[in-house]
């Protein structure tokens, strides 16, 4: 069913650090307050930037009078959008013609397209003065009527968000697999339902920060930011600035959480670069939380019209859906979320008939961008919600129906109808294990007890899948003109002349513990303790290796980053052994590397790593003739990806980690307020390099997903104003709002990665989806169904009242 994949597993002896719950090396600086974040950077002569933003969702800018702003004490300069854009080319997008003409500079010129869009850059001696000046800008707007939903944006005669393209539907494609019409005609049961996937955001605690210093002498932009993939973004930034990319020096120091959103601060890097060059001083912009909420990158907002066909015995026969994506005002990464269904369209199930009709619609709202589980949890929601409704209608237990539809472990590797090749796993074992961990029978009993006390209560189950990383050949299905394919990551490992070991990778982590994990991998390969490995923190484009795919996104580290480091360490190890063999007059095969020394297994002595290093760097006449000096290896790892199979199929991820989640939800019928009483999850990330860190990622997904299900909602009013623009109104949950988590895991190694690992940072949305399923279970006694990913107390209370009259 699938092509053969060559495995090159490392046969390292003495593996001891990979797989251990090694506490993180980076913690020390964080717990003592010594983290170095972008906002902690101090440069002499630093000026402070505040960004003036549009109060309107849609309006023409007829003029900007900056004279009063320039009079504010401490103001250095004010640049309007027009002045900034004069030095820029527009940002590229992924759309096919004519929608590639959607113009985006990261700042508005003559028209604003969402409330919060930048319109001017103000530079001053302090943040306080900069904000004083923003208030003094006089902007003459002519308000226009905004487009605020995907559906209304599709209507004939809808106002155009971008006036230079024909419609607001900037990307539309129908993907069909198998014989969908036939199975829907002949199915025993078809369930259909309209669902709303609500808009929310991962909102990292550290807002976006950019510091730019233009070095006139070397014609270099030094850029400190918390961008989570500067090497990935550098081409777009350079192109916009009309300079060569090697004139951009990026530094991403410690990053205070990213979750995808911090891919998206590159437009601000461009604005600040222009300002820095214009005033000849370093400039710093620290986004406020309000700015972050109104104008960074929101998660997807979707209206689904879904149908699922079943046989009487509960087999899923097919899925058919329309998906209307409200993309916001600019298409920066989109329509990737809209398209991402393709990575695991059928989730953990065997059905092969599928039709997805996708509409990507621009609106006058904050642009949508990467947010943890980007486009993944949404497809999971569609599949799992319809499956749940089918199970209820067929009278089949929700566990049983899943077991009947799972791809079995014997079928692995399994090619799905969209061409995804599932890389191993045991879905039924994961589900059974979470049920066992949670004592499912007791959970159901507890639900029934709550019900008998007059509460509403429901148990919900869901699977989730985290397909990663990205095979960029998938872009060819969005735009046939795309020439990208595959993905890669770079790493180097070096042992210096004194035997000190360093390693670096291009992934710019945001709290993922890469320093620790890199140290574990290198320690095992080189037979040392992780504390003897210095893994470079953060990312600096002058010291860290990188490729155009570098960064931490799409849960890719355990695949690309780990593989690159592992390979670089292996190559250094090979050289160490060769030099030691020469010195000991022993065959390489008879040498072992352990506890900091190379030892002959045949008793021909040993040579410390430090001595090998001295030979390699300092005693070159004693090296083998054909051996290059030094102990250094720079590796670019290519994730094994292929081109698409055809115009709608391909394997666009390498690993497919998955999880099974169970939730007990309690709802107060008098207020409609839900609370998660218990939640358990079992995930399979394949081999875990550091189970402590993997578990932490699972906890993090839980926090985000339960937060999104119960608390977090981005709501716009009829004028296009974001009503939940601060943490007062955007309800990021506190510790008191969330339960403790019952986590577990199973390990079925990935068939396709060198270390048997799977990417798992984002998760597949199982906790959120399980909450939605639990809500339906809770409402079952009242005979009503719920239709949104957001458990709004107001709506639930209305449902309860209308169904029960109480």
């Amino acid at each position: 069913m699938t092509e053969s994949v060559t495995l090159h597993r490392e046969e390292t002896k003495n593996v001891k650090w990979v797989g251990s719950r090694y506490p993180r090396k980076e913690d020390l600086r964080f717990v003592t307050g010594n983290g170095m974040y972008a906002s902690d950077i101090r440069i002499p002569g630093l000026a402070h930037v505040a960004i003036a933003r549009s109060p309107y969702a849609s309006a023409k800018i007829k003029g900007i009078d900056k004279s009063k702003a320039l009079e504010v004490p401490g103001v250095v300069a004010v640049f309007t959008g027009e002045e900034i854009v004069a030095e820029l080319d527009p940002l590229p997008n992924l759309l096919p013609s004519p929608y590639d003409k959607v113009k985006d500079y990261g700042i508005a010129v003559d028209r604003v397209r969402y409330a919060g869009e930048p319109i001017a850059v103000v530079v001053a001696e302090s943040n306080y003065a900069a904000w004083d000046a923003v208030e003094q800008l006089e902007v003459d707007y002519e308000p226009l009527s905004p487009v605020l939903t995907a559906k209304s944006g599709c209507e004939k005669g809808a106002p155009l968000v971008h006036e230079n393209v024909p419609t607001n539907v900037v990307w539309q494609r129908k993907f069909t697999y198998g014989d969908v019409d036939e199975v829907f005609k002949t199915a025993d049961l078809v369930v259909s339902k309209k669902f709303k996937w609500h808009r929310f955001t991962s909102a990292p605690l550290e807002p976006n920060v950019v510091v730019v210093d233009y070095d006139k002498r070397h014609v270099i932009f030094n850029i400190w930011s918390n961008n989570q993939r500067p090497a990935f973004n550098q081409a777009a930034i350079a192109k916009a600035l009309r300079i060569d990319a090697n004139r951009l020096h990026f530094i991403s120091p410690d990053i205070g959480g990213g979750f995808g959103i911090k891919n998206e601060n590159y437009p601000y890097i461009i604005l600040l670069a222009v300002a820095a060059r214009r005033i000849g001083r370093p400039v710093r912009w620290i986004e406020t939380r309000t700015e972050h909420m109104v104008a960074s990158a929101h998660g997807s907002e979707i209206n689904y019209e879904g149908e699922m066909a079943f046989s009487r015995d509960g087999k899923i026969l097919g899925l058919r859906a329309k998906a209307y994506h409200d993309e916001g005002a600019y298409m920066r990464r989109e329509p990737i979320a809209a398209f991402n269904f393709i990575r695991h369209a059928t989730l953990t199930y065997t059905f092969r008939n599928l039709e997805m009709d996708i509409y990507a619609v621009v609106t006058n709202k904050c642009p949508v961008g990467p947010n943890r589980s980007y486009g993944k949890m949404q497809q999971g929601f569609l599949v799992e919600r319809l499956l749940e409704l089918g199970a209820k209608k067929l009278g089949i237990d929700p566990i049983e129906i899943r077991l009947r539809n799972f791809v079995s472990s014997e079928q692995m590797p399994y090619e799905t109808p969209t061409g995804a090749i599932l890389d191993g796993g045991d879905y039924s074992r994961a589900l059974k294990k979470v049920l066992e961990n949670m004592d499912y029978a007791a959970l159901v009993k507890e639900r029934d007890r709550l019900r008998s006390e007059g509460k509403l209560a429901g148990v919900g189950i869901s699977m989730g899948m985290d397909a990663c990383p990205i095979n960029f050949s998938s872009n060819r299905l969005i735009n046939p003109k795309s020439t990208a394919s595959g993905e890669s990551e770079a790493a180097w490992v070096k042992i210096d002349e004194d035997g000190n070991i360093s390693a670096a990778v291009g992934t710019s982590p945001q709290g993922h513990g890469h320093e620790t994990v890199v140290s574990q991998i290198v320690a095992d390969v080189l037979g040392v303790h992780p504390e003897q490995v210095y893994a470079l923190p953060g990312f600096d484009s002058w010291t860290h290796p990188s490729t155009p795919h570098s960064g931490t996104y799409a849960s890719r580290f355990a695949i690309a980053g780990a593989s690159a480091v592992n390979e670089a360490a292996r190559r250094v190890r090979g050289k160490v052994l060769r030099i030691a063999a020469f010195a000991l007059k022993e065959d390489v095969e008879n040498l072992e590397l352990a506890d900091g020394s190379v030892v002959s297994t045949k008793g021909k002595g040993k040579v410390p790593l430090k001595e090998v290093a001295r030979l390699a760097w300092r005693d070159l006449a004693n090296l083998p003739e054909d051996e290059e000096p030094g102990l250094y290896s720079n590796v670019i790892y290519k994730t094994p990806f292929k081109l698409p199979i055809d115009s709608q199929r391909g394997n666009f991820s390498l690993t497919y980690s998955y999880s099974a989640c169970v939730v007990l939800l309690e709802i107060d019928p008098g207020t409609g307020v839900s609370r998660v009483k218990r939640v358990g999850i079992v995930e399979d990330a394949g081999n875990q390099i550091n189970p402590l860190i993997v578990e932490g990622q699972v906890h993090g997904q839980m926090g985000h997903q339960l937060g999104a299900a119960l608390y977090e909602d981005l709501v716009y009013d009829e004028a296009g104003q974001l009503l939940t623009a601060t943490f007062k109104d955007y309800l990021a949950p506190t510790a008191s709002d969330l339960p403790s988590y019952e986590t577990g895991s199973i390990v079925v190694p990935s068939l396709f990665t060198p270390l048997g690992t799977r990417g798992t940072g984002e998760g597949g949305g199982a906790p959120l989806i399980a909450c939605a399923n639990a809500m339906d279970d809770a409402l079952l006694p009242l005979g009503v169904e719920y239709d949104s990913s957001y458990l709004s107390p107001i709506k639930i209370r209305e449902l309860v009242k209308s169904a029960s009259g109480k």
Binding site: N127, Y128, W131, D132, E135, T288, T290, D668, G670, T671, G672, V673, Y711, V715, L723, T724, T726, K728, D729, L731, P733, T734, S736, D737, P793, I794, R797, K801
Partner: protein
């Protein structure tokens, strides 16, 4: 965010504070714990020309038991109240309320007087003060005034205080017996948030379990905290059984008739009016239960 510039004056005494307030009367705000003023100033929603820091006025701090009432200085922090566990015997509702306020950082800085003078119905103290029938003492250039809580609030963020007057003390009448039951029930979407429904109750009962005195405050529904008049009427002289409890939601809503109702993104007016019934019956149930068990504990002694 970054506040607009202002002139800062630090009051050295109560009289000095009043003098300063009078001097900048047109555009001045007193600063106590700053838990309301500073967030508003940061968002530039409030930008007085002058801020008078009253935070160091020792004469406005502390809790004293007087003959007929408890006197709380306006600058007493929520934490100081919460940690005065001796209040539990006679003024349990104060502890119940203080415990529910914001989070530890807000309780550490926030003062009871600052909160009451801010007149935000969605916060805890106003409803509690209504339930306790508190009197609020203020001082201004024209001397001292004593306000009944029921006439202290006229609108959201609006009190009977003039710009040059300061709330100085809160006087809480002692309950007639030691057996008052109390409960402070609120609905918040997330821990520490502004509430979307508050009911605060203090009930006293006689030996037969009949209510002899009822104080009910309702917050976060009307634009000001409101007395649950109809609930008090319903309860007085009665044993609170299931039938009485079933009438509480209606009585709570009836008490709000004629009030303007808050409505925002977190909770539209209809929802607030709906859930306040549930909260009221829970609150009354809990307070009654406590009153009865305290009463019987006392009689057994």
């Amino acid at each position: 965010m970054y506040p607009r510039a202002f002139r800062y004056e630090r009051a050295k005494s109560l009289d000095h504070a009043i003098e300063l307030l009078a001097k900048y009367k047109e555009d001045v705000r007193p600063l106590a714990g700053g838990m309301s003023l500073i967030p508003l100033a940061k968002l530039r929603l409030v930008s007085p020309q002058c801020i008078v820091d009253i935070g160091r006025l020792e004469e406005l701090k502390g809790i004293k038991e007087q003959k007929d009432f408890l006197e709380i200085g306006a600058l007493t922090t929520n934490t100081e109240i919460l940690e005065s566990s001796w209040l539990g015997e006679k003024f349990h509702l104060l502890l119940d309320t203080a415990k529910e306020i914001g989070d530890v950082q807000v309780r550490n800085r926030g003062t009871i007087g600052g909160n009451l003078a801010q007149a935000d119905s969605s916060t805890d103290w106003p409803a509690t003060m209504v339930a306790l029938r508190a009197k609020l003492v203020s001082k201004g250039p024209r001397g001292e005034k004593v306000h009944e809580i029921d006439s202290f609030y006229s609108d959201q963020y609006t009190t009977a205080l003039e710009a040059d007057e300061l709330l100085t003390h809160i006087r809480i009448p002692k309950p007639g017996s030691y057996s008052a039951g109390a409960s402070h029930v609120k609905l918040e979407r997330r821990k520490g948030d502004y509430a979307i429904g508050i009911v605060s109750a203090q009930l006293e009962v006689d030996g037969d379990g009949k209510v002899t005195s009822a104080g009910i405050g309702i917050g976060a529904v009307g634009i000001t905290a409101v007395r649950g008049t109809k609930v008090e009427e319903l309860l007085n002289g009665k044993k609170v059984d299931d039938a009485v409890l079933a009438s509480v939601p209606g009585a709570a809503r009836a008490s709000l008739e004629g009030s303007d109702i808050l409505s925002d993104i977190k909770a539209p007016a209809v929802y607030r009016l709906d859930v306040i019934g549930t909260l009221a019956s829970r609150c009354v149930g809990e307070a009654y239960h406590m009153a009865v068990s305290r009463k019987s504990a006392r009689s057994e002694r």
